[in-house]
């Protein structure tokens, strides 16, 4: 592979960029992802996952079974917000910052 070979197609991240962050101490797919965005694209690393594992193996000598898989996150494929929404406007876990402003005797606490 040439150093300009694209490893992550979604985010256009080259081999060179990945090698560089590994040289800086990154060891897992998630370390590399946070530093380069490799794996954060629409396919959510389905395409680049194995390629990255190969680069980690080559650069660090770590065995494939020792390389942790990237954390798979919901949704597994892109989904519209309206599909997730239930159209309710009562919130419990989700707050508004003004909820945190409290008044006491007509003054901000």
């Amino acid at each position: 592979m040439d150093k300009s070979t694209i490893i992550c197609r979604c985010e256009e991240i080259s081999l060179e960029e990945i090698v560089e962050v590994i040289a800086n101490g990154a060891r897992t797919f998630d370390d590399i992802k946070r530093l380069t965005r490799c794996g954060m694209g629409p396919c959510q690393s389905k395409i680049c996952n194995c390629l990255v594992a190969g680069v980690i193996h080559e650069q660090t000598g770590m065995e494939f079974h020792q390389i942790p898989l990237p954390r798979m996150r919901m949704p597994i494929s892109p989904i519209k917000l309206e599909t997730l929404a239930t159209n309710s406007t009562t919130f419990s876990s989700v707050k508004s910052v003004l909820d945190e402003v409290e008044l006491e005797d007509g003054k901000v606490k």
Partner: protein, 357 residues
């Protein structure tokens, strides 16, 4: 690897890395950052990263946050592009009761130099046309903004390394011993010695404190965030609840759950977060979510930063807080002053761990 240092910082998140960088500007040698994993594996890699000031309470905490926000433009000049953008911050509200709060807030913050405008519905919609037309109004301040947290920590780390700071990662600290004039720090990859020890373990601070028999009252508070596909730039401001990043993604979320260290994402909170997004910005309805993630806040028992010397143990320091992204430039600056000069340019007594005693 050499094992004797002037200063060891435990934790390489945004707080520990900012302290390392600021310290290295003045002290080129003898600094090492130890991290049990890798910087960004903690809370700093799973955050909204608003640089947020205007409706923090009480006023002294807002003022402290403002000083930090004001350091951002200079910081980005020094360490490189961190995609900091002072967009201004909007907090929409949907009830007259909130307008009352907003008015009082604006009055109270005027004297400390935080300018808050309480916008009418029309003014808010003029500023941010995508907001829900059902809003009653919004608070606005030009001081707020946001930053790319990945770049921020990466740049702190690179700048610190350039100044001679070492990072020893995948190296969990398991034991700390205090001897006269020095600490012995045992970690997975070996034994380290130092004069000054800084605990910057974020949400793990309580565990870290136990190693020196100090109670650091930090609890866990989970937050879940949804990320959309990149959309063409359409949000002008950082809205408390959602923001659009440089690459067009919209990050949505302001949830709080006491779930310990469990970093799962859950359908109920994802649904509520989707409801919030559509309630604030109805056109997001059609946007696709590509990712959900969760982060564990480091939440001090009373909500405010725990910062400064640990009384009773010479040369032991702590820096643990929520809103560490907003506060990191100031915290790095003040901790450096405290370690090297013994005093800070802005008082931090209020944030001392001794308040819990």
């Amino acid at each position: 690897m050499e094992t004797s240092y002037e200063t060891i910082i435990i934790g390489g998140g945004v707080v520990g890395s900012s302290i390392a960088y600021h310290l290295s500007e003045r002290n080129k040698e003898g600094i090492v950052v130890l991290d049990k994993k890798f910087p960004l594996s903690g809370t700093s890699g799973s955050t909204q990263a608003w640089v947020w000031v205007h409706n923090k309470t009480p006023s002294w905490y807002a003022e402290f946050s403002m000083y930090s926000a004001e350091l951002y433009p200079y910081l980005s000049k020094k360490i490189g592009d961190v995609e900091y953008k002072r967009t201004g911050g909007l907090s929409p509200f949907f009830s007259e009761l909130d307008r009352e709060k907003a008015e009082r807030l604006a009055e109270a913050y005027e004297p400390i130099g935080i300018k808050i405008k309480v916008l009418s519905r029309e003014e808010a919609l003029e500023k941010e046309p995508s907001l829900n037309p059902d809003i009653v109004g919004a608070t606005y301040s030009s001081i707020d903004g946001n930053v790319n947290p990945f770049r921020l920590v990466d740049r702190y780390m690179r700048a610190a390394k350039k100044n001679g700071v070492q990072y020893s990662t995948y190296n969990k600290v398991t034991e700390i011993q205090k001897l006269p004039g020095k600490f012995i720090v045992r970690a997975e990859k070996g034994r380290f010695e130092c004069k000054n020890l800084v605990l910057a373990g974020g949400t793990w601070s309580r565990e870290l404190g136990k190693l020196v028999e100090v109670t650091i009252p930090i609890n866990q508070l989970r937050g879940q965030i949804l990320v959309t596909e990149p959309l063409k730039p359409f949000l002008n401001y950082t809205i408390s609840g959602l923001r659009q990043a440089f690459n067009g993604e919209v990050l949505i979320g302001y949830s709080m759950e006491e779930e310990g260290f469990n970093r799962a994402t859950t359908l109920d909170v994802i649904q509520e977060t989707a409801n919030m997004a559509i309630h604030y910005v109805p056109s997001l309805r059609k946007a696709k979510v590509v990712r959900a993630f969760s982060g564990i806040r480091a939440m001090p028992e009373d909500g405010f930063p725990i910062l400064g010397k640990i009384p009773g143990v010479e040369n032991l320091y702590v820096a643990a807080m929520h809103s560490g992204v907003t506060l990191s430039p100031l915290v790095g600056t003040l901790m450096t002053e405290l370690i090297l000069d013994g005093e800070t340019s802005i008082p931090i007594d209020r944030y001392s761990i001794s308040r819990f005693a």
